[in-house]
């Protein structure tokens, strides 16, 4: 292997962290410089990411590429092992793009509450944490990056958030921390039963099925708590509406766009292949929780009065489809889950951008106060909101469709050993969920876009200006992706398929 791959993966992961330090060091008051540096560093990482996209060998058949392995804490069996395969690549790219767009968005719209410099710095640190989580191939390294995400997000919500930010930030922190404690214990347990002790995910995958069945169940339980909180799966989701509602716009975008995917990714990368016996035992319960999440969240959405909270709940439902796909333990379901994650990142990220811009203009997120008529005064903003909502409801031809429909199809025909009647029942509830989802999204569009603009906004009309140039720059890539992924799903599937097949061989469920 020539050297550039290893340089690339290191650069990609740590360039944002380096940026975080640089931004933190610039003198107080030079906010503009911080904003520009934020764009430069996230943009630099994105350029590396695009190079990786071109350098990636798509015909290699599912193994890890851009691998880098050095010793770290040898006595404990902890190594610094990173690499990218078809499962992590889409999520790495999603992270790079989303963070870059957030930095671009920050050029023009800085949330009030704290110094812009600090926010940019935290955002860059957060990016390294997220990227590290997706490239890590060592349980301890994974854990370090995983926890690294927690602190910047805590401060983003707690400092730059709105009204009830302290409560939301604490809740977010404690909830995730609670989960990750059990996850860590499970990691340690998994590593220590191996001989010799190792935290290396690739090595553990090979020996995974050797773990006794009872221990597998215990360890899976621990990992489940860690990952399920992050997804979040019902009933561990209540931190999410609060965190989203209070977080600043870029915080919400990153939370929905990337952070939630870490949990589902953990299931695919770690829990399933390392503990295949327990995966089969846990899968029906995960599927049931996913089914509940889909219907429950869409019903909760129908009752929301706050636009941002509504979108937050919709994430719970959409991640339900992702988890349903994973819980089928089929290659198709896992492919669908990864597609669903990327699509949800693009669509819901976009929705939170929109909601942020709506709030900046109206200074309210209450649907009743908005009162409709946005199409009259801001037709472009309204049209983008419309398109994004329609993509979110899973219309064929747009990005939201494939993850949803293929995970339902995977549930029609789950892996051998799983109860077909149970999964088909969940599939039916998932189908009902899609009707309810269409209902609340079209209803939301109606209440925001349609009707006649209330008189009170006529007087304040000066602030209601249509989408700005800065917003277009940040949004256009997401809008394009929403359409492109819908029309050309092979953009994702051609990347994921081989790696998913390889993982499925490890789980032992390939037909």
């Amino acid at each position: 292997m020539s050297g550039w791959e290893q340089t690339a993966v290191t650069l990609l992961t740590f360039l944002p962290a380096a940026g975080a330090i640089v931004v933190a060091l610039i003198p107080r008051g030079r906010d503009r410089a911080a904003q520009v540096l934020g764009v430069l560093f996230t943009g630099g990482a994105l350029v590396v990411g695009i190079a990786v996209l071109f350098g990636f060998d798509y015909g290699a058949g599912g193994g890890y590429q851009f691998e880098l392995q050095t010793t770290w804490i040898t006595s404990l069996g902890v190594g610094y092992h990173v690499g990218i395969d078809g499962i992590s690549l889409p999520l790495v790219e999603l992270t790079l793009l989303t963070t870059f767009l957030c930095a671009v968005y920050c050029m023009n719209r800085m949330p009030p509450g704290g110094s812009p410099k600090a926010l940019i710095s935290l955002m860059l640190l957060l990016e390294t944490g997220m990227l590290g989580t997706f490239v890590a191939l060592d349980l301890m390294l994974f854990f370090v990056f995983w926890e690294m995400v927690l602190v910047p997000m805590y401060f983003m919500i707690g400092v730059w958030g709105s009204g009830n930010r302290q409560y939301a930030a604490t809740k977010f922190f404690l909830f995730t921390f609670f989960g990750s404690v059990f996850m860590l214990l499970a990691f340690i347990g998994t590593a220590f039963q191996a001989d010799p002790h190792t935290f290396d995910i690739v090595l553990l995958q090979r020996s995974g099925s050797a773990i006794s069945h009872t221990l597998q169940l215990v360890l899976f339980g621990g990992m489940f708590l860690g990952f399920a909180v992050k997804v979040p799966m019902w009933p561990l989701h209540t931190w999410l509406p609060d965190a989203h509602t209070e977080a600043p716009t870029v915080g919400s975008v990153l939370l929905a766009g990337v952070l939630l995917k870490m949990g589902a990714y953990g299931f695919i990368r770690i829990a399933l292949p390392l503990l295949p016996y327990a995966a089969v035992k846990f899968a029906p319960y995960i599927a049931v929780l996913a089914g509940i999440a889909i219907v429950y969240a869409s019903l909760a959405c129908l009752a929301q009065r706050d636009l941002k909270r509504l979108i937050a709940y919709s994430s719970v439902g959409h991640m339900g489809f992702v988890m349903l796909g994973i819980a089928t333990l089929t290659p198709l379901g896992i492919d669908a889950a990864i597609f669903g994650m990327v699509a949800h990142g693009v669509i819901t990220g976009m929705l939170f951008f929109e909601v942020g811009s709506i709030y900046d203009r109206y200074h309210t997120r209450q649907l009743a106060d908005l009162g409709g008529g946005m199409m009259q005064i801001m037709p472009r903003m309204g049209a983008v909101f419309w398109l994004t909502c329609i993509a979110s409801l899973g219309l064929p031809g747009l990005a939201g469709f494939w993850g949803e429909v293929l995970s339902l199809f995977a549930a029609y025909n789950p892996a051998a050993g799983l109860s077909v009647p149970l999964y088909r029942t969940i599939m039916v509830f998932g189908g009902i969920g899609t009707i309810l989802t269409a209902g609340y999204l079209l209803w939301t569009v109606q209440r925001v876009n349609m009707g006649v603009l209330p008189d009170r906004w006529g007087q304040a009309g000066a602030t209601l200006v249509d989408t700005s140039r800065g917003e277009w720059v940040a949004w256009a890539p997401l809008v394009v992706l929403m359409v492109l992924l819908g029309l050309v799903p092979s953009l994702i599937f051609s990347i994921t398929n081989d790696a998913v097949t390889a993982i499925s061989h490890v789980i032992g469920v390939v037909p």
């Binding site: 404690l174 019903l299 129908l302 219309l395 031809g397 429909v405 009707i435 349609m450």
Partner: protein
């Protein structure tokens, strides 16, 4: 050309971004782009159809891989046979007429360019649906027409009534789409492919078990019930009248409701091979729908609603034809063909009326025969075609269905179709008399339609007169038939006479009752029955109050409350408990490093013991 049939769908699709991004700057504000695209598509459709008219052209299939997941792959492509080419002609022709008509009808609209963009997208989606060779590709078009009808029905969304109607249309049809989707799953599961030709071949040659065929056919029919507005999901179609009238013409004649009938026709081998109960079920649904919709059409004052319910009823005729099995295939689809012309005509003529009197209500019309002679003539042609008066289009196709029902010994269906034919003639006579005869009861000064509106109406009227002749001359059966060989069945003039007598009876009763304008409506003497029909059998109330409201309140509200109080309450309770416990544990936090080390050591030991015990 047949190998490039996909261009027919691609042209209107390409027109959409063009209209959106540069339409406003073009002469005609984008309308020209849409009309040009669909006009070329229409010509191409005719060229494609010609070889199929003789019945000698083999179907042409072509595809490329959409994506391949090893265990599961999807194609995107085209499948062109007689049925496809017939649909291409109908869709592009009606769309062309509607788009030309809209130039005049919509010229003062606030969102004129946007309107044309959605019309083009609507047409492109329907053409994609018709051309698709793959069920998932078909689904893309299927949902595409759904979202376009939502956009167009709610086109004047400043008024909440209109946007509600759009949402109702989408959600109701989506309710049917879920079983449809599961039906697709079943077929892919059974055959390993979503290619419709392969599935149909497997179904015909016993490659799919009876149980799976049974499930798949019933589930697919669920989609047709939603899209083609059959009982019990027909409730969205009358509300869809909230959209601009040309849109109604498009939805009713070509681009939306025909999709359900087309689906049954396209997947006909699955329906025919499935256990017989499936087709019986189709005929029962069709019979219920055609009757209740015809009864509803009798009591409407809104001229568009009369036509809307007549569409529901006529779609049921098509499905009734298909439900008769292979011999009903051509009659059912022939009715789809003729209906497209006279129903588009009727809606465009109704649009001309509404344009002139600024009201949808027949109670505010009357006597327009003299003020709008052209509209009168074309509406009368449409009404007679719909009522089954020979030699106009509807007579031939409807008669084929009625006589086929008798010949296949479905006597009850024969009775229902014949009875509905009487009702149809009755309510169309009523509509003609209320709008064009008697004295004018409106408040505006009516005027005849301008040229852009008149021209499409005249062309459609010509087709409404002549299209039916493709039946007795066997041209249509050569064009669209089930199985390799077209069977030329001569017209049975005995049945034709029965159909005609039925239609004339309806006309006579209608004439007797509505010869003179009477207020209140003479049918009101029916009393409770009238009230029952007038309230749409209370189905809307049941859905609205029973289902939609229950979901909004209490279900959604209770879930929200449960989430706040119980799920989140447990979380916050844990938090409070932990804080309390923290007080107890505080003494442990002494700051002594030595003591921490002891705790850590104990913890690790306990953990190690646990792990070794389990392994």
């Amino acid at each position: 050309m047949i190998h490039y049939a996909w261009i027919v769908a691609a042209l209107p699709a390409v027109a959409v971004p063009l209209i959106v991004f540069v339409g406003k700057r073009m002469p005609g504000q984008g309308a020209g782009i849409g009309i040009a695209a669909v006009a070329v598509s229409f010509v191409l459709s005719l060229i494609i159809a010609i070889p199929f008219l003789t019945g000698n052209q083999q179907p042409v299939e072509g595809h490329i891989t959409w994506f391949d997941l090893g265990t599961f792959s999807l194609q995107v492509g085209q499948y062109v046979d007689g049925l496809t080419s017939m649909m291409l002609v109908v869709v592009t022709f009606v769309s062309l007429c509607v788009q030309v008509y809209s130039v005049a009808y919509m010229h003062e609209d606030v969102r004129y360019t946007w309107y044309y963009a959605v019309l083009s997208l609507f047409t492109a989606s329907m053409l994609n649906l018709v051309l698709a060779n793959d069920l998932i590709q078909l689904l893309v078009g299927w949902e595409g027409v759904g979202i376009c009808s939502y956009l167009l029905v709610g086109h004047w969304y400043e008024d909440r009534v209109n946007s509600n109607a759009g949402i109702k249309a989408f959600i109701t049809t989506k309710t049917g789409d879920i079983p449809f989707l599961f039906g697709i799953f079943t077929l892919i599961f059974a055959t390993g492919t979503s290619n419709m030709r392969d599935i149909n071949l497997a179904a015909l040659h016993g490659g799919i078990s009876a149980a799976l065929l049974f499930a798949a056919a019933l589930l697919l029919f669920g989609g047709a019930i939603g899209k083609s507005a059959q009982f019990p999901l027909h409730v969205w179609l009358p509300d869809a009248m909230a959209g601009p009238t040309p849109v109604s013409a498009l939805i009713h004649a070509a681009t939306m409701v025909a999709a359900g009938v087309y689906l049954v026709g396209r997947m006909f081998p699955v329906f025919v091979s499935a256990p017989h109960f499936v087709l019986t079920f189709v005929s029962i649904i069709a019979a219920i729908t055609m009757l209740i919709a015809a009864l509803l059409a009798m009591v409407q004052d809104d001229v568009k609603r009369v036509l809307a319910y007549s569409t529901v009823s006529q779609l049921a005729y098509m499905l009734a034809g298909l439900s008769l099995g292979p011999s009903g295939y051509t009659p059912g689809l022939f009715h789809l063909f003729t209906h497209a012309f006279f129903k588009a005509l009727l809606f465009l003529a109704a649009g001309s009326l509404i344009h002139a009197v600024h009201s949808n209500n027949m109670s505010e019309m009357g006597g327009l025969r003299k003020k709008m002679p052209l509209t009168f003539v074309v509406f009368l042609i449409g009404a007679m075609a719909l009522s089954g008066i020979p030699p106009l289009a509807g007579f031939w196709s409807k008669d084929e269905i009625i006589s086929e029902a008798f010949k296949t010994h479905q006597y009850w269906l024969f009775a229902v179709t014949l009875g509905t034919a009487v009702l149809t003639a009755f309510y169309m006579t009523r509509a003609v008399l209320l709008t064009f005869f008697g004295d004018y009861r409106g408040h505006t000064e009516p005027h005849e339609a301008p040229l852009a509106m008149a021209a499409p109406m005249v062309v459609l009227a010509a087709f409404a007169c002549l299209a039916g002749l493709l039946g007795p001359t066997h041209v249509f059966v050569d064009w669209v038939h089930f199985g390799p060989v077209a069977e030329h069945v001569p017209v049975d003039y005995g049945f034709a006479a029965i159909s005609l007598v039925g239609a004339l009876a309806g006309v006579a009763v209608g004439y007797g009752l509505y010869r003179r304008w009477r207020d209140p409506d003479p049918l009101r003497t029916l009393g409770p029955a009238y009230t029952f029909i007038e309230n749409k059998y209370y189905l809307d109330d049941i859905y609205e109050k029973g289902i939609v409201r229950t979901i909004q309140y209490p279900m959604a509200a209770e879930v929200d409350r449960f989430d706040r109080n119980v799920v989140d309450g447990a979380v916050n309770g844990t938090g409070r408990a932990a804080r309390g416990l923290g007080g107890v544990l505080r003494y442990l936090q002494s700051g002594s490093v030595q003591r921490y080390a002891v705790f850590l050591f104990v913890g690790v030991v306990v953990l190690a013991v646990i792990i070794t015990r389990i392994t």
